[in-house]
Symmetry: C2
Subunit: 336 residues, 2 copies
């Protein structure tokens, strides 16, 4: 089993290395690819030094079984054929193919079986905000169909990659030292501020990030659910939080929901208000699960339920979900 990471030097690429190092993934060899700029960089993996190769239009993927790609939508589109032409399965973290009809969009806890139908040998990894939400929604959907979702996000700097995290950290240093913070990666200063704008705006006034939560959720869940999202960037390093309301076909009680969340794959419930215990991003960075808390009845809807979900954006929101897709496909014998 040969695995490749494309975009090895990015925040998600680095997390692929961490996760493959620490999980018992059945793999004989790992190959790293990156841009001309990052080619030549060296990383330790399972006691060996790996050197990043430049991603080029050649036959480098000939013996690769699975390529985990996270180098931006443009690169994914440009290199899809190069990567898949010899039968390599491409698990792509970009937004390039997510809504293509012939590309499954997969969160293993929700729709792993969709991996079977992949005419282009490409599987898309959903957007971070969608992944953590659908893991939680699935637990409720199994009890009663979800008709509507309203969600406000609290998204960390990590969603903008390593440069986003560096910019935020640098801004804090500059502010504490009495300097004017540099603003480059984000549209406005993020430290001491929040920005109600993630990704670009679309014609209906929603951002692409917000429309991903609408469209990707429907595709992953095979559902007509309607999602209205408000995506907000906040000044923390990593792990996204979401304030979620769902309207179900029949009322679902808090007890029923809590039990469903507790039993669901990939979810941990932290919901002890009397002990001041609820999911918080600072303490859940680096964790694999989606953490759910503040579960309560929706006071504005008899068929409504509301809760709070936190997950590490780089792990379950990106790299880990892609690796879990690969693990599922290996287990099911879908890898040649």
């Amino acid at each position: 089993m040969k695995v490749a990471i494309v975009g090895a030097s990015g925040a998600v690429g680095q997390e692929f290395l961490n996760i493959l190092e620490n999980r018992d993934f059945p793999m004989d060899e790992l190959v790293l690819f990156g841009s001309a700029r990052s080619a030549g960089r060296k990383y330790n993996f399972r006691g060996k030094e790996l050197v990043v190769k430049e991603l080029q239009h050649n036959d480098d993927f000939k013996d690769i079984d699975i390529a985990l790609t996270s180098a931006g939508g443009g690169t994914s589109k440009e290199f899809e054929k190069t990567i898949t032409k010899h039968g390599t399965i491409m698990i792509d973290n970009s937004s390039a193919f997510r809504l293509d009809d012939d590309v499954p969009l997969v969160v293993p806890e929700v729709n792993a079986a969709d991996c079977a139908n992949r005419p282009r040998n490409v599987i898309a990894n959903p957007n971070c905000t969608t992944i953590q939400m659908v893991v939680a929604l699935k637990a409720i959907e199994d009890i009663s169909h979800i008709r509507r979702v309203h969600v406000s996000t609290y998204q960390a700097a990590s969603g903008a990659g390593a440069t986003g995290m560096d910019e935020l950290e640098n801004q804090f240093k500059q502010i504490v030292n009495g300097e004017k913070p540099d603003v480059e990666k984000f549209t406005h200063q993020l430290a001491m501020n929040i920005i109600p704008h993630v990704d670009v705006f679309t014609d209906n006034g929603y951002t692409k990030e917000e429309m991903k939560m609408f469209n990707e959720t429907r595709k992953i869940m095979h559902s007509d659910v309607q999602v209205s999202a408000m995506c907000v960037r906040i000044p923390i390093m990593r792990a996204h939080s979401e304030s979620i309301w769902v309207e179900t076909e029949r009322p679902v009680s808090v007890e029923e929901a809590t039990e469903a969340f507790s039993k669901a794959e990939g979810i941990k419930v932290i919901d002890n208000p009397d002990k001041n215990e609820y999911p918080m991003p600072l303490f859940l960075s680096g964790e694999d699960e989606v953490f759910v808390g503040r579960i309560r009845a929706d006071l504005a809807n008899p068929n409504g339920l509301t809760f709070w979900a936190v997950a590490d954006q780089i792990r379950k929101g990106a790299a880990l979900n892609a690796v879990q897709i690969a693990e599922y496909m290996v287990k099911e014998g879908m890898v040649k």
Copy 2:
């Protein structure tokens, strides 16, 4: 006209001083009161030095026309009679009396006329998160009755007073200097984190802060509106933000809503996505209005509308609203 500030050394008390200094409030004398601890402190006001007097059970309020009180609910309850017994109007910023039937709860843009009926001579100032929301809701309510509201808040450290702001600022310094941040005022570390918990929890799983948004909104708007709120503390200094969904009796278009917000008293619309212009707390601290942007249709409800509202928590969310109540009462001849 003699005005008193009770709790003069607190964050809201200090903002009372700022606002009265800069607004054309018709006042002959200002008297400052505080706890035994802050008695003796001196503040400049309109070129004079004022000394904080200790709040005591005596006749100090005999000649005071209006007392602006912000010294916590316990102090307000303890001193209500002392303050009002000679006819002083008490405009109270604490949560002590807000839901009392014989105390009007007032946001001047919404229900100023309620000031007329005040058997105890006490007027309550609503909670900060409620004030900025109802100013925005009023503009929509005037077009079509609002049945339901879903709201997620992004609340600054200022909501916990001057000590809250100091703690956050200190945590940032400690983190940048590689030290472990001190945690005292907030339940958990706030810098680099968010805390889905403001005020104490109640039996239904909501916090008191969240229930204030339910109960106070109904009282101020004389409405049966149902509000489900999620209140979250975030690591910024001042100005609260809110992601709001409303369901109206008949559909209200984005154009109609934008026009209503633009014409409404106390609101400024900032909604130019193509120029990356929308309300952000960093740039609106110290401002008087409620700023509304990101106005769009609710994709999950044909009768729904969603928007983003930002206001300075210490100004419109507290001190300014109380002063505006006083101004209205003076203008209407309600002050003896």
